[in-house]
Amino acid sequence: MTSINTTAAGVEIEDLDVSFGDTHVLKGANLSIEPGEFFAFLGPSGSGKSTLLRAIAGFGPTPSGRILIGGEEVAHLPPWKRNVGMVFQSYALWPHMTVRRNVAFGLEERKLPSREIATRVDAVLEMVGLLDLAERRPAQLSGGQQQRIALARTLVVEPRVLLLDEPLSNLDANLRIQMRRELRELQQKLRLTTIFVTHDQEEANTTSDRMAVLNDGVIQQVGAPMELYDNPANLFVATFLGTANVLKGLVEDTDDGAQFNSVDGVPIPLHTKERGPRSLVFRPQNVAIAPANAPVDSDRVRIAGTVCHMEFLGSIIRYGVSVGADTALVDDQHRRGAPVFAIGDEVNLFLQKDQVTTLKN
């Protein structure tokens, strides 16, 4: 049973620019979010992700460009006429009102009959499981409870889009995992278009259907989480999503086809048509580590190096291997009794050619 009847709306962002005075914080954003999609804005702080979210809600400086919600142009509308629900990072529960009054607020603003308000408030509090706390003040609630009330307060008005601004950042680690699952389930149940701002890629990966990675006011790449991880469009995306080894150098023609020569002159043959200065990117888990005298496999690229540090992380051992002046990280599956390299050991790294990406610097 759901008491919330929402009609999912898509969100289109076209050439959106936002400036705070002389500071250009969002530069020509273009984005298309499908109805019912769970979409994440991911990026470091100062990347413009919150600004973009707030622009959709109608907060912050007036942007240039277009924002369409369900096909309707909203950029000129004040926040209170947009019917997009937003849950704030600090929850922003009003301390002078009880939980019930907080949740009823939006419905009262919509001038609903008081009987309907009461039923809907009860229903949504029931849904988040906090009906018995209705008469409390926000200060008397725990962080998780406050979070749910903030969500209930937003959902009860049946918004066209749900905006979540780092909603989990004020919770402790266990609660965060639980809440993100609940959020996802709720979103699936309601089929509500949801935009989620976070700087935590794990949160974005686990909850969202698609996501946009932002940096420096620019949308770097849009796509499903795995797609972005596997095929980053640029160095920023590659390094921001998970751990990546980056070797800088030049892709040149040789007799056998393309070859990457790192700055230190380590040659790595590649399958690529690109030429010129490039960065070679590969993930630590896609590299095999072997003793220096191990046989060479022609399918794989061999890189010689020296172990310079080692971390035991439980399921894996992460080695740092000096390759020329660079250090490559290598994850080795840990099995009981398997040999472990020591710092200073000469090793060979084996890299499958299809697991390597070349990106422009």
Partner: protein
């Protein structure tokens, strides 16, 4: 919070004892010396409550009580009408000159009310400039200054900055998300203000309004200058100072004034209990500042300028008076001259030096004592600590003339060794009187500042080996600096215009402060212009001092905010 007898409490206990002793010696004892008459049978001298029975049976006093209450309540309403738009526009919109507006909004505090009343009568009186013009053009006049209206008008203009300061601070402390979440849920405009913004700023507003209410209820200068007798404070004053008559009712009224003021204070604290919203959270404080459309901007500026013109009218009047030759039954002075400034020029420097010295010292002592009391009340478990707060706050309600007479009665017999003169006629006693009279302002500012400092920051310092005293000095005081400076400014500005206690205590002319000097000039027909010139000079000096302190506060707040964010980040 520590336990009652924790070893770390020895320092605070000593400080608390010293403050209590100070309050006892310079507030309670002198006051008791004066008001004891209220509890004596006028015919036999035996202790009795008959005088209080008389008070409540006397219709004149009943009316006076109602009038005082009415004037105080209406002054709160009118002050709010002045303060609300100024506070709201400058904290909520991107508004050119917001700092200037805020500073100008505090200027009315630094004009002695009796000087303001003179200027106001010339501008708004029955035959003042405004009414002369109205009469000439439209054939009617508005009784701005008639009867209680005049008192309400003058008091509101003088005291509204209390609401402005407190309300602006409260509005600045509201988490922006509080407002945005309401907008997100469909609220806007006045509904948003009424349902969210104002309730959240309520603690600041009530604190300011309570201060206005009490000050107006107890003020005697303004009604006396406007010749309004049927109010409590003037009744007390008239009866205490009448030649030859020794009516205990004057002292009875003083006791009632003190009691009623404490009652109002208590009620306001009760109303605020549990509403102390520490709404400043991560993500930046302060309301969202919105850009205004052009026509909105024009409207806002029109309102702001109108209010500023109104509240600064005493200053404009004073300026005209100081440059005018003769100003009598006319819209403007007959001609202009700088003679008045020439007249006072040689004497002004003495008055100004004295004023800056006295008010500066008093404000300094006030913030030191205020910080001490705030810390003891809110951070220690010392028994009876609340009484320090009550005691210091009670000074708000003690009429200046009672303090003045009390000091003379208590300390004239005590000789100061080095200065070789009686304590009551040594200039330092004026500083002490000002310190006591302005302590409540500084105390409230210090308490507010302390409440915004997380206990955790202190615990961190103690954990790293700092003693209580070192912690207060190195952590608490720096973090409170914005509030302490605000308290200093308020105490300083208001102390520099104090007259009622100083009139009684100035023992030699060369010790006299500015307000006293202006008063002296204004007691003769020829002295009105020079008095006004002295007033203008004083306002300029004190205003400059206030503005500079304000700038320091603004700068202090920026650093303080970044510290607070770091601290919150560490706590999260």
């Amino acid at each position: 919070m520590g336990s009652v007898f924790a070893p770390g409490q020895r320092g605070p206990a000593l400080a608390g004892g010293l403050i209590a002793l100070f309050l006892l010696l310079f507030l309670l004892v002198p006051m008791a010396q004066v008001v004891v008459v209220a509890f004596q049978d006028p015919n036999t001298g035996a202790p009795t409550l008959i005088n209080f029975v008389d008070f409540f049976k006397t219709s004149l006093f009943q009316e006076s009580f109602i009038n005082s209450f009415y004037v105080a309540a209406m002054s709160v309403v009118l002050s709010s009408l002045f303060a609300l738009p100024l506070a709201y526009f400058t904290t909520r919109f991107n508004f050119g000159g917001a700092l200037l507006i805020q500073t100008l909004g505090i200027i009315p505090l630094i004009m002695p009310p009796f000087v303001g009343a003179v200027a106001m009568a010339l501008l708004f009186g029955a035959n003042g400039s405004v009414n002369l013009l109205l009469d000439e053009w439209f054939g009617f006049t508005i009784p701005f200054m008639e009867g209680l209206n005049g008192v309400i008008f003058v008091e509101s203009i003088h005291y509204f900055p209390f609401i402005l300061i407190n309300l602006s601070a409260a509005l600045n402390n509201i988490d922006r998300a509080m407002e945005e979440s309401a907008q997100n849920l469909g609220a806007s405009g006045t509904r948003l203000f009424r349902r969210i913004v104002f309730p959240l700023a309520m603690p600041g507003y009530v604190a300011g309004a309570a201060l206005v209410f009490i000050k107006v209820f107890d003020d005697l200068g303004t009604p006396l200058l406007l010749n309004i007798n049927n109010m409590l404070a003037p009744q007390a004053y008239l009866r205490i100072t009448s030649i030859g008559i020794s009516d205990p009712m004057g002292y009875v009224i003083s006791v009632i004034l003190v009691a009623f003021s404490l009652l109002s204070l208590w009620v306001s604290l009760l109303a605020l209990r549990g509403k102390d919203y520490a709404t400043l959270q991560k993500g930046g404080g302060g309301l969202m500042r919105r850009d205004l459309r052009n026509w909105e901007k024009i409207g806002c500026y029109a309102v702001v300028i109108l209010i500023l013109l109104l509240v600064l009218s005493p200053h404009l009047g004073l300026l005209l008076l100081s440059f005018g030759t003769i100003w009598s039954f006319s819209v403007l002075p007959d001609a202009y001259t700088i003679d008045h400034y020439v007249t006072v020029f040689s004497e002004a420097s003495g008055y100004i030096t004295n004023t800056l010295l006295y008010a500066g010292l008093a404000a300094l002592f006030d913030v030191i004592i205020g910080t001490g009391i705030a810390y003891i009340v809110w951070r220690t478990g010392l028994p009876g600590r609340k009484w320090l707060d009550y005691g210091a706050t009670a000074a708000l309600a003690v009429p200046g003339v009672v303090i003045g007479i009390g000091y003379l009665r208590t300390y004239h017999g005590i000789n100061v060794p080095i200065a070789d003169q009686p304590l009551a006629s040594w200039w330092v006693i004026i500083v002490v009187a000002l310190t006591i009279r302005r302590l409540p302002y500084a105390l409230r500012a210090c308490v507010a500042a302390l409440q915004q400092v997380s206990v955790m920051l202190e615990e961190a310092a103690e954990n790293l080996g700092a003693t209580k005293g070192r912690t207060v000095w190195r952590i608490v005081v720096p973090l409170m600096s914005g509030g302490i400076l605000a308290g200093f400014v308020t105490s300083f500005a208001t102390a520099s215009v104090e007259l009622s206690a100083t009139l009684m205590l100035v023992a030699v002319d060369s010790d006299a402060p500015l307000a006293y000097g202006i008063y002296e000039f204004m007691q003769s027909a020829a002295g009105r212009g020079p008095g006004a010139a002295l007033g203008v000079i004083g306002v300029v000096f004190v205003g400059l001092g206030t503005y500079i302190s304000h700038r320091i506060i603004e700068r202090g707040r920026v650093t303080l905010e970044s510290t607070a964010i770091v601290a919150e980040g560490a706590a999260a």
